[in-house]
Homo-oligomer: 329 residues x 4
C-alpha cells in the first residue's frame, strides 16, 4: 500500500488521491504559453479533483537556445521567458482551499542535446546582478548544452551526473495580481526547489476561484541554490495528478513525500525565506502533530532540515522539513 | 525663471514642461479604484503630454478607518488596500520612453480628523511580520486619527508636526505583470519616499504602450522608513503635470528638484536598494555630467546622500542623490 | 585502506595524517576556559603535527544550567559563555599554512540528563533578537534537559532522536583580534555546522604563529540552522588528531570526509555566507580538480549541495559541498 | 548659553560638561598606534572626567599612501590598517556607565595633498567583496589625492566640496574582545557616520574598567554610505572633551547635537542596523521623554530621520534621529 493513502491528499482530498480522468495538455492544446501567474488568462483546461494532466512543457528559454552559439542576450525577448502551461481550472476550488499536485513523472522531450544552461548577463548567484547591483565588469556570456536522458545528465566528457528531475515552476494564480513566472511566492511559482520531484505531493493555497494551476520550467537536475541561475533546463512531458482539499488554510506551499513533511518559504534576504519556512513548519507541527508551539520550536532546533531551492530568483526559496519517522513516534 | 525650464522635463520633454489641458479625475470620473499596477485595466482618462491631472485620491485604507475603533483587521479586506487612481493613458508613450510627473500640489480632502495611522498585525518595520516571520506575540492593534491641514499635522495634544505632504504610490504599468499597489519596484509604485513631493519631477521608464499612470496613497507627512508601516494617511486632491521624454532609457525611477538629482531603488535586503540607487546615479553622472564611471563612484563616496523611503513594504526603497551645485560647477 | 590516506591531510600534511603522541587536555590541564579566540592567552599545550588531543569540553553554558529551573537570564554571566579548551600551540605552524583537525570521537561526559537546550531572551532564529531588534514581547524563557547517550537523544517521552554529535566551536586564533567564541568567521569559531563531526577533517588557515587551536561547544545533535540558538549542548570528551599543511593559502575553513569536499562561509545576510562558501568551492575546483572557473560555476549550479549550519550566531554559517564521486571521474 | 548645558553631558555627567585639564596626545606620546579595540593594550594616558585630549590621528592608511602611485595592495600590510590613538583610561569609569565624547574640532595635519581616497581590491559598496563574494572581475585599483583645508576639499579641478570633517572611528574597549578597528559595533568603532562631527556629543556604553577610549580615522568629508569604502581620509589634530555619566545603561552609542538626538546601530543586513537604531530611539523616547513605547513608535513613523553612515565596513551603520523641537514641545 502506497504511503499516498496516508498522505494529506489521501486522507483529506475530494478524490482521496484516487486517479481520475487523464487530460492531454500538449502544445496544440496549450496554444500560447504564459509568462505570468495570474487570473487574467483563460483556462486551457477544466478538470475535476483527481484528474491527471500530461503536459508538454517548454524549457525556460522557450526552446530558442538551440546551440552553444545562441546567446541569451540575443535570443531572449524579456520579459517573455519561463513559459508556463496552464492555467488549468479545477472545478470546485475556492479561496481558502488547498490544491494538491502529486507529481507522477517528468521525462525529457525532444532531440538531444536536450538540456541547456547558460551564464546570462546581470543574472546569477555569484555575479553582480539587477538587485545586487555592482560596478564590476560582467563574466562572459556562455551557453552549455547537455545530453539528458532518464539515465543521466552528461555534464561533460568527463562528468556524468544522475538524472534527478523536478518541476522548477509550479503553482496557482494570485487573487488579483499577475506576477512574472520568474518569481516564487506564497502561490508557488519559480521555486526551483529540487524536492518538487516525482513522488512528492505539493500543496498550494487556493487564492482564486478554480485555482488556475500553472506549471513549467522542468529541470533534469540542479544543485542547491541553482547557482548561476540556470539549471539543466529541459522541455518535458510531465504527468501530475491534481486533487483538492476543502477548507484548509495554509499561508505558503507545503510538500510531503514518503520520508518527510516540508514547508516552503520565498523571500529576501535568504534568512527571511528560512524564517517563513520554519515558522510555517513550527505551526504545522503544533496544529497537526500534538506538539505545543515552543516544543515544536525546540524539536526543529534539534531535527529540522533545510533545503536551499534557489538563491537567484526575485525571491530566494527554502524548504524546511522534518522526517515523518521523528514526529510519528 | 523657474528651475523647471532647466530640468530634464523642461529641456527634453515633448511639451517642454509647459502646462496643457487640465483633467478632473474626481471620484466620479475614476469610478472603481485599482489595487494593482498593470496593463489589464481600462484607462479612465487619455491625456496628452503637458496635460494636468487633478486627482481625488483615497487614503491607503480606502477611507474605512473612520475612528480609532475601526480596527484594520476587522475593516480591511485584503488584498483590496491602497486604492489607486488611474490608469491614465498618455498619448504617444511607448516602451523605451520616460514619463515625467511634475507634482504641483497635494491638499487634504474630507472631514477632520483626516489623517490616519495604525499598528496592523504582522506588518511594520519593528515587528515580526509576514517576511521576517517570527514566533513572538504581536503588539496590540491600534489606530491613530490626526487632524491634518496645510498648517500642520496634530500628532497629539502635545506634539505638532509640519505638513510635508508627498505621494506615497506613483508610477506606471509593468509590461505584462499586474502587481499589488503595496509594492514598489522599477516602475515606481509604493515607494513611500518623502521626496516625491510638490515641486519635484519624477521620471519613470515607460514599459507599456500609453504608459498607464497610476497614483494614490498620499501622506500628510512621514518619517524616514515609514517605521510602523502606516504614515499620516490622507485622502487628497492632488495635482500633477505629466510630460513625456521620447527615447530615454532608464532602468529605475529618477527624481529631480531645484536642489538635487536622485535615483530610486527598491529591493530587499536594504543594501540592495542602496546599491541599485547608487549604481543608477553613478551611471547617470557618467552619461550626462562628464564624469567617468570611476570618478563618479569616488564623487558619490564623498558627496552622495541617501534618503530612506520605506523599510516596511514588499521591497524597501532608497533614494540616492547629489546636489546640483556640486556637479554643475 | 582508509580514505584518509587520500585526503589532503594524508597526502600533504607534515605527519601525513599518521597519529603521533596523545595529549590529555582534561579540566585540570585546561584550568580556566576561554571566551575569545585570540592570541593573548597562553597555550595550555604545545603539540607536534600528528599529535592527538583528548579534550574535556564544557557545554556552552559552562555547566551552570543543571535543571529546567536554572534560567539562563539568572545563571549566565555574559559575555562569559561558550567556554573553550585551548589554545593549543602547534609546533611549526605559521601564517600561510593550514591546520588540519581530524575528529576521532565525541562522547558525552557527566551525569544524566547531560544535554541542555533553552529559549534565551533576545536570542534565536525565530524571535526578535539583539540584531533583528523588534518591539514584540518575548517568548517565555524555558530550559530543556535531555538524556543523551551514544545510543540516542531522548527529546521527550515520545520522541527519540539519533545521536549525531559534532563540535560546535572549533578553529584557530585570528592574527591580532580576540573575538567572542560565540562568533564564527574565517578562522572557524562558532560555526555550529553538523558536518564538523567524527570522521571529518577540517582545514583552517593559520593566521598566527603556532596556530593556537581552540575547541568546545559539542552538540549531541542539531537541526539545520540551530533554530532556537541552542542545540543539544553537552559536556564531552572529544578526541582530535591535528596535523599541519605548509604553504597552503586558504581564505576560509574547508572540510572533507569520505563522501564530499566542503567550503564553509560565515556572514550576514545568509546569502553572503552562501556566496562565500560557493566562491571558495568554485576556486577550489578550479585550482585542484582540473575545471576552469566558469566550468566549476556551472558544475556547482547542477551538483552543489548546501548545508545550513547556524542562522542564530553573530554570523550565519553555510557549508557548500560537492560529492567526490562527481569530481573524481 | 550653549545648548551643551542642557545636554545629557551638561546635566548628568561627573564634570557637568565643564572643561578640565588638556592632554597632548601627539605622535610621540602615542607611540605605537593600535589596530584593535580591546582591553589588552596599555593606556597611553589616564584622564579625569572633563579633561580634554588633543590627539594627532593618522589617516586610515597610516600615511603610507603618499601619491596616486602608491597602490593599497602594495603598500598596506593587512590587518595593520586604520591606526587608532589610545587607549585613554578615564578615571572612575566602570561597566554600566556612559562615556561622553564632545568633539571640539578636527583640523587637517600635514603637507598637501593631505586627503586620500582609493579603490581597493575586494572592498567597497558597489563591488564584489570579501562578504558579497562574487566571481566578477575587479575594478582597477586607483588612488586619489585631494587638497584638504578648512576651506574645502578639492575633489578635482572642476569640483570643490565643503570641508565637513568628522571622526570615522571612535569608541571604547569591549569587555573581553579585541576587535579590528575596521569594525563598528555597540562599543562604537568604525561607524563612519558623518554626524560624529565637531559640536556633537557622543555617548558610549562603558564595558571595561576605565573605559579605554580609542579614536582615529578622521575624514575631511564623506557621502552617505562611504560608497567606495574610502572617504576623504586625513591625518588630523582632533580635540575632544571627555566626560562620564555614572549608572546610565545604554546598549548602543547615542549622539546629540543642538538639533537632534540620535541612536546608532551597526549590523548586517542594513535593515538590522536600522532596526537597532530605531528600537533604541523608541526606547529612549519612552524612558526620557514622556511617550509610551507605542506612541514613540508612531512618532518615529511620522518624524524619524535616518542617516546612513557606512555600507562598506564589516557591519553597516545607521543613525536614527528625531528633532529636539518635536519632542520638547
Amino acid at each position: 500500500m502506497s504511503w499516498i493513502t496516508q498522505s494529506y491528499m489521501g486522507k483529506k482530498a475530494v478524490a482521496r488521491g484516487k486517479a481520475g480522468k487523464s487530460h492531454n495538455l500538449n502544445k496544440a492544446v496549450q496554444g500560447d504559453y504564459h509568462y505570468v501567474y495570474g487570473p487574467y488568462a483563460k483556462p486551457v483546461l477544466t478538470i475535476d479533483p483527481g484528474d491527471i494532466i500530461v503536459a508538454e512543457t517548454e524549457d525556460a528559454f522557450g526552446g530558442v537556445i538551440k546551440t552553444v552559439d545562441d546567446l541569451p542576450s540575443q535570443k531572449l525577448n524579456m520579459p517573455f521567458v519561463n513559459p508556463q502551461c496552464g492555467p488549468v481550472a479545477v472545478t470546485g476550488a475556492e479561496k481558502g482551499d488547498v490544491l494538491c499536485v502529486h507529481i507522477h513523472s517528468i521525462k525529457p522531450r525532444g532531440p538531444q542535446p536536450v538540456g541547456t544552461s547558460a551564464l546570462i548577463p546581470e543574472f546569477g548567484g555569484l555575479v553582480s546582478n539587477s538587485s545586487t547591483a555592482l560596478l564590476n565588469p560582467p563574466l562572459p556570456e556562455r551557453v552549455m548544452k547537455y545530453e539528458v536522458t532518464e539515465d543521466g545528465v552528461k555534464f561533460s566528457d568527463r562528468v556524468m551526473l544522475p538524472y534527478e528531475p523536478f518541476i522548477g515552476t509550479l503553482g496557482v494564480s494570485p487573487e488579483i495580481e499577475a506576477v512574472s513566472s520568474l518569481q516564487p511566492d506564497y502561490w508557488g511559482g519559480n521555486m526551483d526547489l529540487p524536492d518538487v520531484a516525482p513522488g512528492a505531493v505539493i500543496y498550494f493555497p487556493v487564492l482564486h476561484k478554480d485555482a488556475y494551476l500553472y506549471l513549467g520550467d522542468c529541470h533534469g537536475r540542479q544543485g542547491d541554490g541553482e547557482l548561476c541561475g540556470v539549471a539543466v533546463e529541459i522541455p518535458s512531458t510531465t504527468t501530475v495528478q491534481v486533487d483538492l482539499i476543502k477548507n484548509w488554510q495554509i499561508a505558503w506551499p507545503r510538500l510531503e513525500n514518503e520520508d518527510f513533511i516540508m514547508t516552503i518559504g520565498s523571500a529576501r534576504p535568504l534568512e527571511d525565506a528560512a524564517r517563513i519556512a520554519y515558522r510555517e513548519l513550527t505551526r504545522w507541527l503544533a496544529s497537526d502533530y500534538g506538539f505545543d508551539e515552543l516544543e515544536a520550536y525546540f524539536l526543529l532546533t534539534q531535527a529540522g532540515k533545510v533545503r536551499l531551492g534557489n538563491m537567484v530568483d526575485p525571491k530566494y526559496t527554502i524548504g524546511a522539513s522534518i522526517k515523518k519517522s521523528y514526529i510519528n513516534q
